[in-house]
Every structure is written in C-alpha cells, then in structure tokens.
Subunit: 473 residues, 2 copies
Amino acid sequence: MNEAAGAPKKVTSGISGSHLTDAMDHQLEILLSAANYDAVKTLLEPVQPVDIAEAIGSLPLVLQALAFRLLSKNEAIEVYEYLDPSIQQSLLDRLRSSEVLELVEEMSPDDRVRLFDELPAKVVRRLLAELSPSERRVTAQLLGYEPETGGRLMTTEFIDLKEFHNAAQALSIVRSQAADKETIYSLYVTDRERHLTGILSLRDLVTADPEDLIGDVMTRDVVSVRTDTDQEEVARAIQRYDFLALPVVDRENRLVGIVTVDDVIDVIEQEATRDLYAAGAVQAGDEDDYFQSNLFVVARRRVVWLVVLVIANGLTTQVIAMNDAVLKQVVLLAAFIPLLIGTGGNVGAQSSTVVIRGLSTQRIQALGLMKAIFREALAGALLGLLMLLVVVPFAWWRGEGPLVGAAVGISLMAITTLAATAGAALPLLFDRMGLDPALMSAPFITTATDVAGVLIYLKTAAWLLAHMHGVNT
Amino acid sequence: MNEAAGAPKKVTSGISGSHLTDAMDHQLEILLSAANYDAVKTLLEPVQPVDIAEAIGSLPLVLQALAFRLLSKNEAIEVYEYLDPSIQQSLLDRLRSSEVLELVEEMSPDDRVRLFDELPAKVVRRLLAELSPSERRVTAQLLGYEPETGGRLMTTEFIDLKEFHNAAQALSIVRSQAADKETIYSLYVTDRERHLTGILSLRDLVTADPEDLIGDVMTRDVVSVRTDTDQEEVARAIQRYDFLALPVVDRENRLVGIVTVDDVIDVIEQEATRDLYAAGAVQAGDEDDYFQSNLFVVARRRVVWLVVLVIANGLTTQVIAMNDAVLKQVVLLAAFIPLLIGTGGNVGAQSSTVVIRGLSTQRIQALGLMKAIFREALAGALLGLLMLLVVVPFAWWRGEGPLVGAAVGISLMAITTLAATAGAALPLLFDRMGLDPALMSAPFITTATDVAGVLIYLKTAAWLLAHMHGVNT
C-alpha cells in the first residue's frame, strides 16, 4: 500500500501537473544566485503554491527572502501560508517591516492564528498592535479559544445571507464577496441577532429560480458545532456527513465561523499520527515535525516513556529474582520467558490496537463496551489454544521433558487470555474515566502483561515441580 | 485528545443538528411496529441520510426493508449508499426486484461499484445485465480498474465544458446538469478528443464576466492523476493541494473521471487504520469492520502474525538454551532478560513507528534516508546512555554484585543502539525494495531485537565471568 510513499523524488509516478522537480529546485537556486529574476518568475508561474513553498523551504537561507519577494502579492500570501513555521519566522526577520505587516494583514484569520501560535509572544503583541482594527479584533477573538477546538480551527471568512433575500440578490452578494471568503460553496443564513437559521449550498442557489426567497430554499435542519467542540469531533462530523464546511456557533447559537474540509483532513492525519506514536511509545509534538527536530528534542520525546517502561520492567525483574529457586532447579525454564511474555505482549497489543482504533473511529460503540471486552477475552483464549499446538511440542523437546512443556502450555493459555482482556479493558476504562485511551496502548499493555506473565509461569512451574517430582530433570 | 471518541451515546456534546438519538432509534422501532408510517416520515424528515442509515442498521431485520420503503426515492438512494455492505445485501434480498433495479440504476457509479465489490459475482452479473446500457457501460469500465486505484475511486459524474463556451453559456450548462453530478464546484475543460486542457472552479465561473471565454478564464496548469495511480497517492495529492476534487485521466490524457475530497478522507483514515493495525500485528480487513466480524474471522486476522512471531520467539529460546551454562553459574542474570529485551524492543518500536509514519506522510524524504538511519542510531545510543543511569544501579543491587550490573549496562547500550538502527533501517529497506514498510513495524522489530539482545547479553556475561573471576557470586 505504500509504494508511493517511498518515492525518493518529488515527482511521483501517478501525479502529473505542477510539481517542482528536484532539477527545477536546483535551477531555481542557480537563477536566483545569478539574479535572473525574470527567469525565476517564468519558472514559478505554472507551479502550485504548496510546491513553491516547498521549493523556497529547500533554498539556502539567504535566497529565501529573495525568492519570496519575486512572487505576486496574492501568490506570496498563499505561499506563505504553506511554509513551515520555522521558515515563516525566519522570513519575518528578513523582510522589511512594511512587507511583514502587509503579509500578516492579508492572511486568512485562521492561518494567521496558526502562525501566531508559533511566534514568540513579544512578536505576536507587536504584530497584533499593527494590524487594522477589524483584523486585530477577529485575531484576538480566535486566539481566545482553547487550542484544538472548533473555535481555533475555524475561519471567520464566510458568506452570510438573510432569509428575505431572493436567489438573484444572494448570487450577487456571493459574487461581490467571493474574493475575500474561504469558501463560497457553503452559504449561511442568519437573523438580525446573527443566530444561524439555515444553510444552503451554492449548488442550491444556482439551481434555484432567481425569484425564490432564500428562506424558502434553504435547509433549516443544520448540523453545527460549538467553539469549544474538540477538533477531532469537528473532523468526525465533517467526515460523517461528507460536508465541505461546518458552521461553528457560540453558546447563544450565533454563527461565529466555519470549519472547512481541507483543515479537517489535516486534523484527521494529526490524530492518526498521535495514535500511532502512542502505539510506539513516542510522545507526539505539536505537529508531525519529528524529522525536523534535533537529536535532543527527539530524545526528550522518547526518554520519558522509556524510563516509565523500564521501571515497570524492573517489576518483572523483581518477580523473577524472588522466584529464582525454581530457575535454580530447572534453568531451562528461563529460556521460555521471552517467548511467553513476548506472545502475551503481542496478543495484548493486538487487543489494545483494535480497541483504541475503534474508539478513535467511533466504531466500537456499535458493539457495546462489556461485549467488546468479553469478545477480546474469548479471542485471547482461542488464540492461546491455537498457539499451544506449536508451542507445547517445542517446549517439551527444547525443555527436555514434560515439566517445561506443561508449565509453558498452561501459562501460555492464562497469559494470552489475560493479555487480551487487559488490552481491551484498560483503554476502555481510561476512556470512561475521561483519560486518553491511547495511554493504554501496546507498550504499556505489553509491559504490564510481562509482570503478570512471569509470575504465572514461575508459580505454575513451581507447583508442577512440587507435584510432578521425579518426572523431570 | 479522545474525550469525544468515547461518548457512549450517539449525540456527542459538541455537535448539534440532526443526529438521531438512542431514544429516537427506539421511537422509530415502536412506530414501525405499530405501522404508524406517517409518524415515521415526520420523525425522519429532518434527519441526515447517514444518521437514517445508522438507525435502519440498528433495527431488527424484519423492519429494515419497511423503514427503507418509507423514504422518498432520492433520499432512499442517499441512505442506501451509507448503509453497511451486509445491510445493503440483506435489503437487496428483501426488496422487490423492480425496487432493487431502480435503486441500483440511480446510484452514483462509484457507489455502485463499491456495492458490487461486496456482492456475490452471480448477483452482480444479474444486476449488470438489468442496468440501462449507459449505466452498464460505465459500471463495467470502473470495475475494470484495479482495486485501490484512482480509477476505482473516481466517479464519472463530472461536468465538462469547452474552451469556446462563454461564462454565461457555461453557467447554464452547470445549472442544467447540476442534479446528476457528484460536484459542480470543480469544472473541467476538454477538447474534441476529450483530452483535459484546463480546469476552473465554480467560484471562477460566477465571478467571471458573462462574455468571458472559458478558454481565457480557465487554469491550464492542471494537477491530475491516472486511473492506475495508487489511491493513497491520490489522497495525498488532494490533501497537499487542498483541492475539492482531482481529475483522473487515462494514458492518452483523456479525462475519464474525478475523485472528490469526501472519498479521500475515507482513504486517509483507512490507510491510517492499516498502519495502526500493522503496528499492533493485526491484519487489516477490507474495511474497518473488526467489530462487526465474528470471533473466527477475528482469530484468523490475528493468528498468522502471532504464529510468525512465536516462531521468531523460539529463536530467542534457542539462544538462551544454548547459553544456559552462564545462567547455571549466575541464575539472577535471567531476571534481567525481560528488562533488556523489553527496553530494546521499546526503542526499536519507537524508531520503526516514526520512520513508518514518516514514509506514510511523506515527510521523511526531506531528511534523506541514510541521514534518517544515522540519526536514529545516534538517538538509540543516547537513549541507552540515559537509561544506564537508572538501570545499572538497580542491576548492581538486585543482581547482587558488579557482574550483573556490568553485563546489563554494556548490553543495554549495545541493544538500544542496534534496535534503533534496525527499527529505522528495516522499514526503509522494505520500502526501497517495493515492499510495504509497515511489515517491519514494532512487533517484528521487537521480536528480531529479542534474539540479538539475549545473545549480546549472555555472551557479555560469559566474557565478564571469565575475566572478572572471583569478583562475584
């Protein structure tokens, strides 16, 4: 499935169009160094803003501002919004302050807020003070919402209509406002107090009779989110209903902004990255910026979980050390510890993976929580049973007798059942308690299973030794 | 981050609108059982199609067809497209064949193809034969493309214009065709041989002067994909460029279909689920249908990887059994095996997680492959060094002497460095070889690290025992 992902060049086989190639990147650098600015403009003219942003990002620092200044004003704003935050910042330092101000003034409010989130507070205060009053007001409003909510994700650049407009009037409003709005395909209808009373699509509008009143053609059953709705919930709503945009209202049901589908795709990907990182015991950053971070940031994002896990592993060590009498009698028992706890860990990891993903994609609710746990427990027992067929003969042979075979077999069943149950129950429990279920992802389930696994195994072996005396080693 | 995901009811706090609640589900069932059909219609009237589909899915089988028949024709088609494949099939069995035919005839070609993918071949052949010639032709065409490609994902219901149309003519074409098209917001321009020559948005069209020629207002620099482009690559292109739709062309650059953003969100989520399942050693199904599968399907999707891993774990057992002489001398060495291989596994899992995710989101390319591997190796060494501070004092104390402390410390550094290197290099190697890098996800890296880890540990301990003779135990 990932053939495409590993393509080493920027031009991947299946997409044709305006990608800058590596060769063009190189040409861009040569032309800039040679101060051949007309040729640069010709080179970049057919290129998409996001590709230009990537090309500028890969230029040497001294050429970045130079390349950026050659863009037309509208293009510059679009390209700027696609730049990495670090390059956005370094450009702010290199451009004249009048250029900076014009740029920041013209950005969409939502992109401006995302930039301000990354800038030092001092710079943000200065830029805010220099914005026009209307842009300053809306920016301060958006910055006032909690991060990762509908309010932070939304833009205020939407088109609102009134019920008493007719379709022809509405279409001319759309035409006159189109240039400044994030989308013109979803249109919102409000009353005098800005309460949201309906929505219609541009499709509805262009197919309506010009004399039709908006109040008659609009849909009154509106799905909306609030400014404090979690961004993942906003994303799921757009995904569920196949919307292009979703209105955001305040507590009094006044329309304050809209969230568009392109932002939602990024949220879904960001949340998937978090879940995956949790499954790999890596702390997620604000963005998927792992490969831009330096080595010490990388270590910081990994060492905390490693140390927590190593301390938990220390418990396993304790359990073994306290039961070393049985190992002293049959040292070959030790050879099966990694296999048993590894298998338990794998079964537990499977269960926690499907449960955590089921919670994220909201599919587990269809089954019911207790039923989901019970089903996983059964699956764990069934899987343990299937693996006995492979593991017990091997343990009998390699362990040089029935004692090891029996101890491995009995504890394998117990461990897989326990691991599957814990792997399903702990994330669900965390979720119920309002904690992030991803905290109970594979590495933690695995480590917890280790402790219980060695205890079960060594106690079983000790019991068997006491009762099968003389049979073995 | 997942507070919302675990909400047990269908109405989540932050979304208001047309969700059916559990209470309404119940009411729906009561009204249907009482044959109060007008009340059912009133109840469902303000509800979104996807919510109706969910409500029908949770009805008893005998009521499903009844509820479905109460929907208006247009609504029935929309609702049907949102139903789970199993319910789509059972409805086909329960509706009259004229009803079935009308339904299948009216579906969008892409949704029809998705339905046919799930149906038995015999039923598909019968339905295909009964479709109108034009719908049969387009369906057969789409079914001819490989699964998970642009061709399979696309719809053929797009609007194409000609360069010689003026804006007013184009707008009236859009108006007249709007009802049958998947989107009217992205418009495509083709020549007489159906070659794609340009695109424009409805936004461009409504803001253009009515006399402007399409050839003058359209964009000629078009990003497009081919029918055989992998669906993940298609999704990444729409995400990268923030498009609402993307044209799909054949090898002769003739426009054959479009992919829209709503389908792309589902692809991104499906691919994220696969990566997550791979990280948890669970085989992904065609859909995220884990919680709908029965226990034996669940076991089948998990047992294969478990057995592969258990066999690999058998190698670890072999290594320990072959080096049991050193354990017989110092049995407490065995107590640290889980800690060492667990920590190595966690470090390797972290590295493979970030590398596999970096390949999926196409961010690792910015760094370069050799540099990425080298960076992970350094990170592994650094993390090993940091953990020595915790682990060595513990091992010295719990292992009752410097021998165990030294053996644990030396092998910990070696294991973390090796695990991080393997965790980064193996997915990248697989990717380069055209294999799915997710096959080298956490469980496999962990298991591979186990074998190397115990070998390093026991050999180190044996060497120390030979050279530190008399110091310990």
